[in-house]
Structures are given as structure tokens and as C-alpha cells.
């Protein structure tokens, strides 16, 4: 008998045999003391502000003078005002770019390569693709502002391939600014999603593909019935991460467009900042903040449900 066979099964019988409420009362008291500092920090700088946000959202307050109770007016404004609705819609449009592009491209690479990226090539790939994750989003925003500038690389390329008529100041264009911002987000998230999916696919048992081929499966079938289900968890992770990044985006927009032109690229995060600190409408800003939080939760919940529970 080798080490491994004797040591691995250890954990199972012991944990199975014992009921969940292990340990003594003192253990529990001690555990509480260990949790306390983190909980205090969390309560002071997250839970308390969250409660305050909720409270402010029912007020009419300029942040300085007297506040007055405003009922649900702020929420009604958030959900009816055309500008605010457009701003929320912008965030969801960004989801298309932030999520779809990285996931689809990542899946394409993963299902084509379907093996571990070993050796030097793998290391270089990982290093390069993770660069956007390491730099500040602000830097990505600046880099791409320059890419999208009128003399930037995007226009330079278009001109080089004879599409001069397409060249424009992308981030100042009422139609193209939002997609351009979306591209920036996609660029940031692409590497992470690709690497997650490539890693995920190496965990699928290769004999499944061989069995499927013996059963007469075409490549599409392999993708549909083996790769996709096998990557469910990883896809779930990618969608979760990218959807949150899109809905709660701030840095990229702040740097690249300041929300313009008009409000074509304004997102809730930026609008909260503006309402609270430029327009002094703390109540409305807080209502929008609460709505944003709820929207994120609602958007993430089904993804978590579909990808994690069934195991």
C-alpha cells in the first residue's frame, strides 16, 4: 500500500461519521472572536454605508443643508426618467460587449486547442493575455482613448486598408462611442476568460471525445454535448465576472469619454458619482445606487443558479 492510498480516504469517514455541530461551546466562542475584527471592518465600511444609502434614497438632500423626506419619489424618478433609463440601458448594452466577445472568443480558442498549453508557448500566452488584468483599468482607458483617437491606431489601420471613410473620432461619436467603450472592456476581460475556458477544457476527460466520435458525433455535436456542458462552471464564472464588470463599470468610462457625447456612454456608476458630488442630489444618487446593486444581484442570480447548483 502506498502513501496516497492510505492518506486520501482519511478525511471521508471521519467527517461523515460526525454530526455537523462538532466541537464544544468554547470552540464556538473562540470562533466568534476570530470573526469579529473582519466583521467590524465590514460592518463599518460596507454594511453601515449600505444602510445609509438606503436611508438617503428616501430623502431629498443636497448633502449640505436640511434633508427632507421624499418617499419613493427618487425611485420613481430612477425608473421613469428617460435619461436615467437610457443610462441603465447603456450598462446593459455594455454587457453585450464585456460578456459576449470574451466568452465567444474564449470558447472558440478553448474548443480548438482542447489541450493544456504547456511549455514556453503556454507561459508566454498566459503572461500576455493576463496583462490587461494587471494594469489599472484607468490605464486601459487611456491606452484605448489613444487607440480610438482621430490619429490613433484604429483609424490608421482603416486608412491603410482603404476604408478612410470609416475613420472617425470614435469616442466622440454619438453612435460609436458606446461600442468603443464596450471594446475596451472586452479587451480587458478577453484574456481572463480565454485562460479560464482553456484551463476548464483540459479538465474534461478526453475519452469522452473519443467515445463521442465512436458514437458518430460531428465536431458540432462534440462542442454542443461535451464541451459546453463540461465548461458550464467556467462559463458561469466568465459571465458572472464580466456582467458585474459591465454593470458596475466606472473607471473606463470616466477616463475615456466622461460619459459623453451627451449621455450616450454614461453608466450608472458614473451617474451616481455625478449626481452625488456634482449635482448634489444625494437622494437620487442613492436610489440609483440601490437600483444598481439590485440589478447586479438579479442579473447574477440566474447565472449562479444554472452553473453551480447542478453538480
Amino acid at each position: 500500500m502506498t502513501d496516497k492510498t492510505t492518506s486520501i480516504p482519511d478525511a471521508l469517514p471521519t467527517s461523515k461519521r460526525l454530526p455537523p455541530s462538532r466541537g464544544s461551546r468554547k470552540t464556538r466562542t473562540a470562533a466568534w472572536l476570530f470573526v469579529a475584527p473582519a466583521f467590524i471592518a465590514y460592518a463599518a465600511f460596507v454594511l453601515a454605508p449600505l444602510v445609509m444609502s438606503f436611508y438617503y434614497s428616501f430623502l431629498r438632500w443636497d448633502g449640505i443643508g436640511e434633508a427632507s423626506f421624499h418617499g419613493l419619489t427618487n425611485y420613481i424618478t430612477v425608473l421613469t426618467d428617460r435619461d436615467l433609463l437610457q443610462i441603465i440601458g447603456n450598462a446593459f448594452q455594455l454587457v453585450l460587449y464585456f460578456t459576449l466577445i470574451p466568452v465567444v472568443l474564449g470558447l472558440a480558442v478553448a474548443s480548438a486547442i482542447r489541450s493544456h498549453m504547456a511549455g514556453r508557448f503556454g507561459t508566454i500566452t498566459r503572461t500576455v493575455l493576463f496583462l490587461p488584468q494587471v494594469i489599472p483599468l484607468v490605464a486601459a482607458g487611456i491606452a484605448w482613448s489613444w487607440m480610438f483617437a482621430s490619429t490613433g491606431l484604429v483609424n490608421q489601420t482603416l486608412k491603410a486598408i482603404g476604408l478612410s471613410s470609416w475613420a472617425r473620432g470614435w469616442l466622440g461619436d454619438f453612435v460609436w462611442a458606446l461600442p468603443a467603450v464596450g471594446i475596451i472592456g472586452a479587451w480587458v476581460l478577453l484574456g481572463l476568460c480565454t485562460m479560464l475556458l482553456v484551463t476548464g477544457i483540459t479538465k474534461i476527460d478526453p475519452s469522452l471525445y473519443e467515445a463521442a466520435r465512436l458514437d458518430g458525433a460531428r465536431p458540432w455535436h462534440e462542442f454542443r454535448y461535451i464541451t459546453l456542458p463540461g465548461l458550464r462552471q467556467e462559463i458561469g464564472v466568465c459571465i458572472t465576472v464580466t456582467v458585474i464588470a459591465a454593470l458596475a463599470s466606472f473607471d473606463i468610462v470616466y477616463i475615456s469619454t466622461q460619459g459623453g457625447p451627451g449621455i450616450t456612454t454614461t453608466v450608472p456608476g458614473l451617474e451616481i458619482y455625478r449626481l452625488a458630488f456634482a449635482h448634489r442630489q444625494v437622494g437620487l444618487a442613492s436610489a440609483l445606487a440601490i437600483v444598481l446593486m439590485v440589478l447586479v444581484l438579479i442579473s447574477i442570480a440566474p447565472v449562479q443558479w444554472f452553473t453551480r447548483d447542478k453538480k
Binding site: P20, A30, L33, V35, F39, Y42, F130, P136, A143, W146
Partner: protein, 274 residues
């Protein structure tokens, strides 16, 4: 390794395209950063006479030395404490697994998806009330709290995998909780702690929203926050802006290149668990 099938060639091609797309913005910035001052350079064009001096000027204009110091102070204020209290809490929560205590864990988990924007307004008034506005503590203290959901979640996941027997063996060996934590649990948690440290370092260094709202003086901000101010001030001088941006993102990139393996592992696990 399998032999290269047409499929893997396609995949490699795709990956190489992805890598080029990833690198182009950096190259484009570099080429602009080397253009002569005051000119309006082209997207990607190696300048006839590369102006490496632009970097020196950007270093001076951006007061990089001070920025580095400020960012480092903030990281030192945030990361060690966050890692410590999150490790403690993760250990504690892993011992409180009964239904009776599940709510405590759920309260932490709830914060995982919380956008910082949702609490930034009240944070402003809270920090102002504490008299910390425009100090580094305005960034440090809230960040510690904001990082708790992920950090605690992360460390708890680790501690759940440590056999309970080790705790009991330590108890019987005469260890108090505190000693057990330091002498048995923390050494075993080193990989998880390492990854968490890397992630928190990156997130702190790159934090933008808090410095923009809570700290006016760029010299008290994080690198990312300072970069925002730098852009506001020098946004029209493309060579200088690009040189400055490259300088500002250089420290994390350099660290990343050195600890490539650890960073990649941390970022991937971080995404999966978060």
C-alpha cells in the same frame, strides 16, 4: 503532448492574434510616448528620433517618486491588515458551520457582488465625519471593509479543506486557539494567503473610484487615482500622457512579470471563487 493537429494550429493562430490584439495598445502607447514633445503622433509609428527623455519628463511631471511612495503606503495600510483579519475570520467561519451560524457567512457573501458605487456616497460622508477626507486613511479604511467579503470567502474556502482533526490534535497537544492558529493553521494556509495578498495588492494599487471621490490631492492617492488626475492635467499632450501612463502601469507589470506564475494562479482562482 499530442501532435499538432490542424485544430491546434488554428487555435495557436487564434491565440497569436489575441496576443497581438492584447499588446497593440501598449505598443501604440510606446510609439506615441517616444514622439517629439508637442507633436500629434500617429497610431503606431516608430518615431525617427525616439525621445526617451519623455519618460524622464513624465517621471518628473507626474512626481512618480511621490506617487510610488503614496501607493506603497496605501498598500501597506490595506493589505497586511486585510489579509490578517480575513484569515482569522475565514478560520473562525470554517469552525462555525452549523445552520445557526450560516447567516453570518451569508452576510459576508452578500457583499461579493456589491458594486463599490452602491456605497460610495455614504462612504464620503462617513469619511468626512471621521475627519479623514483627503488623507490616505480615506482610502485605506474603507478598502479594508470593502475587501472583506471576498477575502473572508476566500480564506474560509481554504480552511474548510483543512481536516478538523488537525485542530483537535493541536488542542490535545496543548495549543490555545491563538497558538493553534499561528503555529498550525497559518503555515498551512500559506498558498491561500499568498494568492490573497497578490490580489489585494493589485486591487488596491489599481483602485480608482475611492481616490477620485475621497482624496483630492493626487499625491495622497493610489497610482490609478493619480493617473486620472494626470490625464486631466496633461490629456492633450499625447506623448507625455502616454509616457506617464506607461510609467504608472510599469510597477505592477514588472511585479507581474517576476511573479508571473503566482499572479496568474491567483487571478484565475480569484475569478473562480469570486
Amino acid at each position: 503532448m499530442k501532435t499538432a493537429t490542424p485544430n491546434t494550429l488554428v487555435a495557436r493562430g487564434l491565440i497569436i492574434v489575441l496576443m497581438i490584439v492584447t499588446l497593440l495598445p501598449f505598443l501604440s502607447m510606446l510609439s506615441a510616448a517616444l514622439a517629439p514633445q508637442g507633436t500629434y503622433p500617429n497610431g503606431l509609428q516608430w518615431p525617427a528620433d525616439p525621445q526617451w527623455g519623455n519618460f524622464a519628463r513624465a517621471f518628473e511631471v507626474a512626481r512618480m517618486d511621490q506617487l510610488l511612495l503614496s501607493s506603497s503606503l496605501i498598500v501597506l495600510g490595506v493589505v497586511p491588515i486585510s489579509v490578517l483579519i480575513a484569515t482569522m475570520a475565514g478560520y473562525g467561519l470554517a469552525k462555525l458551520t452549523t445552520n445557526k451560524y450560516k447567516w453570518l457567512y451569508l452576510v459576508f457573501v452578500f457583499g461579493l457582488t456589491l458594486p463599490f458605487e452602491a456605497v460610495i456616497t455614504p462612504l464620503y460622508y462617513e469619511v468626512r465625519a471621521l475627519g479623514l477626507l483627503n488623507t490616505r486613511f480615506a482610502i485605506i479604511l474603507p478598502l479594508i471593509g470593502l475587501y472583506m467579503p471576498f477575502s473572508v470567502y476566500w480564506m474560509r474556502a481554504h480552511f474548510l479543506n483543512v481536516p478538523h482533526d488537525l485542530t483537535e490534535a493541536a488542542q490535545l497537544d496543548g495549543a490555545t486557539r491563538w497558538k493553534e492558529f499561528w503555529l498550525v493553521q497559518v503555515p498551512l494556509a500559506r498558498p491561500a494567503i499568498m494568492s490573497l495578498t497578490i490580489l489585494l495588492f493589485l486591487w488596491t494599487w489599481n483602485q480608482f473610484l475611492l481616490p477620485v471621490v475621497l482624496v483630492q490631492d493626487p499625491m495622497q492617492r493610489t497610482m490609478a487615482g493619480a493617473l486620472g488626475a494626470f490625464q486631466g492635467q496633461w490629456g492633450t499632450d499625447i506623448p507625455l500622457l502616454c509616457a506617464g501612463s506607461l510609467l504608472i502601469l510599469a510597477p505592477t507589470v514588472a511585479l507581474f512579470l517576476v511573479f508571473q506564475r503566482q499572479f496568474v494562479a491567483a487571478l484565475m482562482q480569484g475569478a473562480v471563487k469570486g
